[in-house]
Symmetry: C2
Subunit: 145 residues, 2 copies
DNA sequence: ATAGGATCTCTAGTCGCTATAGCTTCAAGG
DNA sequence: CCTTGAAGCTATAGCGACTAGAGATCCTAT
């Protein structure tokens, strides 16, 4: 049985994050030692590794909750898992296209900037005047970069 | 002078977001009508359009705060604006590389899934066993996709 | 005059953690 | 056996960038 710290080192998931996953029910409530400290066995370690890998692939915690439920039930059809992964792939592709457009516009902005006075700065100018962009950008929900 | 709703329609920024920008000091406190409703002139409208465009390019609000300060001072050197945009470009490029790796792994997972039982599902299997991936992924701070 | 949309303030919720405070427990060294 | 310091515990608050809701007020059109 591993302490939370050892589990953290073994999986690369930080201690408070492990406790958080338990709190939101992604990990089962841990067994406790006589002194009330969490103890973990192999099963939970594997579960946590699964969660971590899925997070690295960008799955949302709610998706991971579903994937875990599927993984727990090996007789079910994996169509649902496929659907979740397919949705994730589509989201990643959408994000890729959007980021490529942003990269292009940032490069254009920077290429034209002569690093002189602000009054002549292409960066500031383009930001202030959308008509100077080469294209439309997404207007909606995906503004983080 | 525009009401907040008209400013919202004119710029594509939602009403609560405009109020939020005022609250955090990104927009100046609006003038008020006799009935205490916000009124906006051309200057604020331009400022908001600038903010929106920068957000679309993925700049953080704190970066935008700096860029706005620079835009307000046309005699200054635009080296600082260049630096901010360059940093943003580097972040976008890093994110692009990472997303491409994710896309590749998701595609591999999906390509090998025969849509049969969970027990044979490549998607679940790869998530559970990191050794099955073709590569390392980022371990750190950029897990959203 | 009134109906209904727009606006006001304030609070709380989202996601996935991360940080802090103030406590208890555990493991190693003397 | 005792001490010390690391590691653990709970609970709460904060991050970024909004979004949603409640309940009150205002403005406009008929």
């Amino acid at each position: 049985m591993l302490s939370i710290g050892k589990l953290s080192r073994a999986t690369g998931v930080k201690v408070p994050t492990i406790r958080y996953y338990e709190q939101i029910g992604l990990l089962p409530e841990a067994e406790r030692s006589s002194g009330n400290q969490r103890l973990y066995g192999r099963r939970t370690q594997e579960r946590l590794a699964f969660i971590r890998h899925a997070r690295e692939l960008g799955f949302a915690l709610e998706d991971i909750r579903e994937l875990l439920a599927l993984a727990d039930d090996p007789e079910r059809s994996c169509a649902a898992a496929d659907r979740i992964a397919g949705r994730q792939l589509a989201a990643v592709n959408a994000r890729l296209r959007r980021l490529e457009a942003l990269r292009d516009e940032l490069e254009r902005m920077l290429a034209h900037c002569s690093s002189g006075r602000i009054a002549d700065c292409r960066v500031i100018e383009v930001l202030g005047n959308h008509a100077l962009c080469g294209h439309e950008h997404a207007t909606g929900d995906d503004l983080s970069a």
